[in-house]
Structures are given as structure tokens and as C-alpha cells.
Symmetry: C2
Amino acid sequence: MTTTERASVSSLEDPSPEAAREAIAKGTEREALVTVFGRCTVDYEGRASSRLAEGDRHVMLKPDGATLVHTDEGQQPVNWQPPGCDHDVRCVREKGTDALVLESVRKTPEERLLVRFRDVLQVSSFAGSDENELALSGTEEDLRQRILEEPTLLEPGFRPLATERDTPAGAVDIYGEDTAGRAVVVELKRRRVGPDAVSQLRRYVDALARDLHADAAVRGVLVAPSVTERAERLLAEHGLEFVSLEPDPE
Amino acid sequence: MTTTERASVSSLEDPSPEAAREAIAKGTEREALVTVFGRCTVDYEGRASSRLAEGDRHVMLKPDGATLVHTDEGQQPVNWQPPGCDHDVRCVREKGTDALVLESVRKTPEERLLVRFRDVLQVSSFAGSDENELALSGTEEDLRQRILEEPTLLEPGFRPLATERDTPAGAVDIYGEDTAGRAVVVELKRRRVGPDAVSQLRRYVDALARDLHADAAVRGVLVAPSVTERAERLLAEHGLEFVSLEPDPE
DNA sequence: GTGTTGATATCGTTA
DNA sequence: TAACGATGTCAACAC
């Protein structure tokens, strides 16, 4: 979507393969968002490989190189290519008819998406402008702010000393001290947590204990809205603690 | 996309808000895939909350209840609602002009997406059929098959005994024995692994050792194309092993 | 570029 | 329904 005075749309219905090819090429050249709807097969080869037999699908080509193939179901595209790809459009003579082929290719990793249309029902090009970015709240970062502003939410007397404190196992969300001067490692999760989060906290506690010096007492506290039962058992097993708290979604 | 003889598209350009509302309502009623392009704001309230100021965007309403809002950049939609939502379309009198409002709502969790169009440039409805499903290869499941068919790939004499063997920490990918009769826990990853995979393997090995009986010797083997350095250190630290192997993408 | 982690992750499977 | 783990996860950020 190039920045134009006003957004614009141009659209073709039931185009010939050659007319479709031309419209798509023109749209991508103009840096427009291009959509194609029709009957197609989809093949992918790269990090994995996949094949999708014929069906009616909606294909979106973005000017940043992304490709999305959507069916009528699911939030996720049935197939796709990430931004940074090169789009190619061409007509191919196949079995006595002209087919329209879309190809999206990238390197590192080398992968290729091929959409072969037996029939194109609509091609549209959308040009517009979008200067604004999404403002999101209720994230882990918001949870961190909440605790830093009011450390007593974690426990009375807790003193935050650093965020993203580095350890051999990675960066700790919040590092601080309790009233007794013991080191406290805090791991934050914005939603209910499972065993993976406990393992993560455990790695940090172990690494920090070793880093400070032999058998330093390091407490580990997991902060999240809630925990699963298996995670709770794991916490107890490893002498880790849990505080129920959630990000302020306001 | 209802199953029809042949796919069909109906499209409106520069419709009035009321004409757009009618076309969208008709499309969703017919279980078609509906797209709307125009200038809009987007608000989300639910697991988190977000606000997106005015811009030109492409909105897709799927008959399964999913909603996708795309800008001209990125593989991911700038905002969305998962399948299972109820779509609602209406015209609202605002600041002396008619605005078109799309609302997608679901419960559990309760969340709501509001797209408010100041200007609609195109509404399209797509009906078609798609009976075929994606065939994907090069997954973790393929890697498992490869090892089960040729256990010596893991190590000479390895004997698989079970897949998805249950432990208190979760199900083990492959459980087996080595030539010495020792229990072996195998964790598979289709791509290069980091510290999280090592922690996962460690949880399984610990749980199984405890489950079998006190101080049973249980080996843990991580199978993946490669490991990061930190993961390698963690493996060594906990006496776990690594075998380099990747899924056959053919 | 690789490494690490968060995400309104999404998705599928299973208890 | 919740829980758990895979994903061609994606995306942001650090190094």
C-alpha cells in the first residue's frame, strides 16, 4: 500500500489467465496488496514440504513479500510464505489450457511456494496508507511494570534490583532481594503456566546460585495468574514459589 | 464457502455504508468468505486489549467465525479473532456520518473485536468448495517414524519399546532400551534446539527414574538436527546425550 | 546472521 | 472443558 491521497481498489472478475497475470504483475509493481481468488493447487518445498490438491482459495500477496493462502476455515492460512520473498507471476501452458502460476521464493532458508490456478474468479489490487501502529496492553511487560511500581505485590519488603539480569542460563525477568537479603529470581508469565515455565525458572535459579557462589541461597518466584497442577507439583519439588498476579488489562 | 457446483464471487465497489452492511450480512448468512477493504479503526478487548487508529486495511470474515485484519505488512494479521466467534454487522450514526461496524464476539474466553469503517472501498463474497487437506512432511512425526523403522540411527542396539509412554511429567516421545538393558528416554525435535528442549528432556528423565524406582539408571537422548551452545552445556551438565538427525523431508 | 523468549501465539490430541 | 506439546510456529530484541 503506497501512500496515496486516497485509498484505491481495482478489481477484475473472471479474467483470462493472461489478464489476471497482467493485473497481478501491475499490482505488485505498484506495491499494492493483491488478492486472487480461484481454484488452485498449492505446493511448498523448504524447511518441510507440503502438497495441497485442488480447491477454491483466497491468496493474498503483500508488497513486503509475504504470501497467504486462506481457505474458508481456520485462523491460520493453509499455506504461506513469510515477508522477504520475491513474488513471480506467469502463465503456463498445461494440458491444453493456460494456467496462472504464482511463485514466492526466498533464500535462507531456501524455500518456495507454488500456487497453480486452474481458474481465477477475481483479482483485486488495494492501495492505501496505514501510518498507525497497534497499541497493546495486558502483556508480560505490563505485569513487570506493575511489580516494579508496587514491589509489595510480590511480597512485603521485596526490593527489585535489576530487570533482564543476565545469567549463564539467560536473562532473568526481575532480580531482587527479600527482607532477609536473600537473592530472589522472579519469572513472569501473563497467563496460566505449565511445567515449561517452572523449568525455565529453575534454570535461572540454578545458574544464578552457581554464579553468585557455591551454595548461595537463591529463591525462585513464579508470577502468573495461575498454575496447572503438574506445574504446582514441580514447583514444590524444586522448592520454588508461586505468586498469583495478572497484568492490568486496562 | 458452501459446496456449490462452481465457485462464485460477488463484489461491490465504493458502496454506501448501508449497501456494504447488506452485502456483508448476505455473504455471512450464505456461509461465504467475506472481505472488506477500507479505512477503519480496530479495537480489541479480551485476554489483552488493543487499539489501532485509523488506516486502510483488509478484513476477512470466515464462515467458521474467524476474523482477520491485515495491513500491507507482515505475515500475521495486525488484529484478529479466532474461529467460533459470532460476526455482527451494523451501521452506526457517528459525528454526522454513517459508519459501518463489524463486531466479532466469543465467550470462554470472553473477547470482542470491533472494526469501525469510516470508508468502505470494496466488499466481496467468495463461495466455493475445498474438499482437500494439506499433506505435510518433514515433521516430528516423520522423524519418529524414521527412528522406529531404523533404531540403529539412534545407536547400535537401541530397542524402541513404546511411543508416547506416559510419565508423571508427561508423555515421552520414544521410550526404549539400550544393549545394556538401561532405560532410554528419547525426545525428538524437528529443528535446532535451545535450552527449553533440554529442560523438557530432563523433566521426563527425572520423572521416569522416579517412576521406575529409586536411582534407576535412565538415559536421556535428545534427537534434533543440531543444538545451540547453551543447550549443549545444559545437556552436559545433566548427563544427557545428543544425536544429530533430521526428518526426511522427501 | 544466530540465540533466546514472548505471544491476544494457534492448533491438534487427549484425559 | 482444560492441559500439554508441536509448529514450515512468527516477531522482537540482543549479540
